[in-house]
Symmetry: C2
Subunit: 82 residues, 2 copies
C-alpha cells in the first residue's frame, strides 16, 4: 500500500523522560554503550493510489501543523513508500 511516513522526535534540548527511563533500564541490563535514548513518533499516512509530489507537500504541511507540536517536537523525516 502506498504510504507517506512522517517521523516526529522531541526537540534535542528537551527532556524526554520516557527515553531517559528506557536508557536507564538498558544500562541496568548491561547495555553500557547506549548513552541515551529518545522516543518519538512514526506516523504512516495510507493512500489507495500512487503518491504524487503534491501529496508529499501536503504531508509535510500536515506534519508541521497537525501531527507535531512545533514547541516541543521536530519533524525529522517525511518519506514516501510506494
Amino acid at each position: 500500500m502506498p504510504k507517506i511516513i512522517v517521523e516526529v522526535m522531541p526537540k534535542a534540548d528537551l527532556l524526554d523522560p520516557q527515553g531517559k527511563a528506557v536508557a536507564n533500564a538498558l544500562q541496568r541490563g548491561g547495555n553500557k554503550d547506549i548513552k541515551g535514548v529518545r522516543i518519538g513518533k512514526r506516523i504512516e499516512l495510507h493512500f489507495d493510489r500512487p503518491i504524487t509530489d503534491a501529496d508529499l507537500a501536503d504531508a509535510r504541511k500536515i506534519g508541521d501543523e497537525f501531527l507535531s507540536n512545533a514547541v516541543i517536537e521536530d519533524v525529522v523525516n517525511v518519506t514516501v513508500e510506494n
Copy 2:
C-alpha cells in the same frame, strides 16, 4: 552523533484508535485521499562511538524483546545513522 533507529508499529490487523482519530480529523479537514493513519514509535539509541555490526545485532534483540510488545507490535525497521 552515531545512533541506531528502531521503528515499531502496531500490528496491521490490530485496531489503532489514536491513528483512527487522526485519520478522521484529517478527513474532516479536507484530506480525503488519506485513507488511513497508523501511529507507532521511533526510538533512537545514541552511542558516543561508531556503531558496529554487533551493536546492530544487539539493537535488533533489544527492539524485539524490550522496546516492542510482540503481541501487539512489529519492529518494522532497525537502521544505523553514523
